[in-house]
């Protein structure tokens, strides 16, 4: 049925991960509602905003990395997750 979508295991994992992440955020929001505050980004964000900004920033890190260096993409993934984590905690 989903053959037309030409799934591959890695992309399926990525989307399942994203889905779990969003579901997790929804559950977390239910348990303790998010509070907006100001971090080093200087704008008022709650944790959902920071997740979005973090994911986009991680994508930027990966893109710039692949565009300019031949170093391992696992290293890039590490840096990207680190950036997302830093933004999520202190952003």
């Amino acid at each position: 049925m989903l053959e037309w979508m030409v799934w591959t295991p890695p992309t399926a994992l990525v989307f399942v991960g994203l889905g779990l992440l969003l579901a997790g955020m929804a559950v977390w929001a239910k348990i303790s509602p998010p509070v907006a505050r100001r971090g080093f980004l200087r704008i008022e964000t709650d944790r959902g905003d920071r997740l979005y900004i973090g994911l986009i920033s991680a994508a930027v890190v990966l893109t710039v990395w692949i565009a300019v260096t031949d170093l391992s993409m696992w290293l890039a993934l590490g840096c990207a997750l680190l950036v997302a984590l830093v933004i999520g905690i202190w952003g």
């Binding site: 037309w4 979508m5 799934w7 890695p10 992309t11 989307f15 704008i43 565009a67």
Partner: protein
């Protein structure tokens, strides 16, 4: 008072809250919650402030979520799947990892088109937003002039993209087009958009300004009309000049509509395709081959689905970032 009550729709989303006016059950979706809240009722004395808001009205957007999932998210997933594979036929495909992203992001042609498109969008915004606001401010506010001005301003918006392209393709020609002929023979400037890349660029830019400034003007005009008259009367009493009135009353009140206008014009100009395709076909050389023209060449012309998928995702990422930054800056500054 009523407004406060609207916001204080009692409610922990998970809990069950009962007030004099209505009972809101925790597991029942109640989209009309804000409407119910407008009914007169007793506040549950002082606790309302600390309680989280009832957000059940958000369930009303479910149809949008479903339709967007069907028309945008699922196709986007497919694009992601395309971008990591080399596809020869539906049954014959190879996983290539991030190779397409590497080759696309390092392709000098793609990079040049990227810079070109960003430059074009920046110029479009710099020209259309001030011009649109200026037109809106100088449009009449009363009398017969209003419908006349509205219709005149809205006319270019009614013309389809490819027709606009055709109009300008002919209009800007040096031999039979009124605009091109005038520039060449009356002003004495050598203008030929099929040979000179600057001329081609200017033609496409002016065409976009002609086509889409009216949108900015109409949005700004709607924003201006919504400013209550007492603001202007107060300005008049203070003997404020026309510029001061504009700077301190009209412009701040236009923030909302200008946010929409800037976002729409950025996204639209960043994906501009039909008009330059009709007028110049991306040429001369690569002078006006914007990202969308290059992308459609790769995706539809050469049918390279993998590189086109990677290209689309990088394109999409850029639109996301710029739109989010605009939106954040325009809606959160001054808070």
């Amino acid at each position: 008072m009523t407004g406060e009550r609207l916001n204080d729709v009692s409610g922990d989303v998970s809990g069950e809250v009962s007030t004099a006016g209505a009972v809101v059950a925790g597991d029942r979706v109640e989209p009309e919650a804000p409407v119910g809240a407008a009914l007169p009722r007793d506040e549950p004395g002082g606790q309302a402030d600390t309680k989280p808001r009832n957000n059940r009205a958000w369930f009303l957007v479910l149809p949008v979520v479903v339709s967007v999932a069907f028309t945008a998210v699922i196709p986007l997933m497919t694009v992601v799947n395309f971008s990591v594979q080399d596809i020869f036929s539906p049954t014959d495909r190879i996983f290539v990892g991030l190779d397409w992203f590497r080759s696309v992001s390092r392709d000098p042609e793609v990079r040049a088109a990227f810079v070109r498109t960003l430059l074009f969008s920046a110029q479009v915004l710099l020209l259309e937003i001030p011009l649109g606001v200026a037109i809106a401010v100088s449009m009449p506010r009363h009398g017969l002039g209003v419908p006349v001005a509205l219709v005149l301003v809205a006319l270019p918006l009614l013309i389809p993209w490819n027709v606009v392209g055709t109009i300008w393709q002919i209009f800007a020609r040096g031999d039979i087009g009124l605009g091109g002929w005038t520039i060449n023979n009356v002003l004495g400037v050598n203008f030929n958009y099929t040979l000179d890349s600057t001329d081609a660029w200017i033609t496409v830019l002016i065409m976009d300004v002609w086509h889409w400034t009216p949108l900015v003007a109409l949005l700004a005009y709607a924003g201006l009309r919504s400013i209550p008259e007492p603001y202007f009367q107060a300005a008049q009493i203070d003997a404020a000049s026309g510029w001061a009135t504009f700077r301190h009353i009209q412009l701040p009140r236009l923030r909302g509509v200008l946010t929409i206008a800037i976002l729409l014009r950025f996204m639209d100009s960043f994906m501009i395709y039909t008009e330059p395709f009709v007028v110049t076909g991306g040429g001369p050389g690569n002078a006006t081959s914007f990202l969308s023209i290059l992308l459609s060449k790769i995706a539809v012309g050469q049918f390279d689905l993998g590189p086109a998928g990677a290209f689309s995702l990088l394109y999409f990422l850029t639109v996301q970032i710029v739109s989010y930054v605009f939106f954040t800056v325009l809606t959160r500054t001054g808070r």
